[in-house]
């Protein structure tokens, strides 16, 4: 149909959308740092430098964190659909 379409997003909506997306990413980053620090860093702080073991652990932790995020996102979507829900993607 001519002229029928979604109403254009307002300025406020456009700005909010970008800001929101960044907020989501920043939050994920912050959570990852907290958790991987907990899992990988020796709390005795005998040294100021990251050991080789800690460094490798951090790399692997980050990779697994992302994989977990994706896995759960996929599974949640699948389960929600199977239960007849609308589902949402992340």
């Amino acid at each position: 149909m001519f002229g029928l379409g979604r109403p254009q997003p307002t300025s406020a909506e456009k700005i909010a959308a970008v800001e929101n997306e960044l907020k989501v990413v920043a939050e994920m980053h912050s959570r990852m740092v907290k958790i991987c620090t907990l899992k990988c860093i020796d709390k005795s702080y005998r040294e100021g430098d990251l050991s080789k073991g800690e460094s490798v652990c951090l790399d692997r932790c980050a990779a697994k964190f992302f994989e977990t995020h994706q896995k759960i996102s996929d599974q949640l979507q699948k389960e929600t659909q199977a239960r007849g829900g609308g589902g949402f993607s992340m």
Partner: protein
């Protein structure tokens, strides 16, 4: 996502700057909480002991290195994940 006008861009930049300040304060707060919890446990004195001070310094250095390293990994992984999502 349609492009933003110059005015909208400026508004966004302002918001992001405010957000960055908030973010920094949050990182700083976590650093204090984390290093205090890990390093300070001697309450026979009001002043930090030499041991506690050293521990805190090392904690700060290590935490900053951790932030840097994880920041790099996060950037790589996030880019890969975004690309994958667009591919699907």
């Amino acid at each position: 996502m349609d492009g933003l006008t110059a005015a909208e861009s400026r508004e966004l930049d302002q918001r992001l700057q405010k957000r960055q300040v908030k973010e920094f304060m949050s990182v700083f707060g976590n650093l204090v909480d984390n290093c205090f919890t890990a390093c300070v446990d001697d309450f026979t004195s009001k002043a930090l002991s030499g041991r506690e001070s050293g521990c805190i310094s090392r904690c700060v250095l290590k935490s900053m290195s951790t932030q840097t390293r994880l920041g790099e990994r996060f950037g790589e992984l996030n880019a890969a994940m975004t690309a994958e999502m667009q591919r699907r």
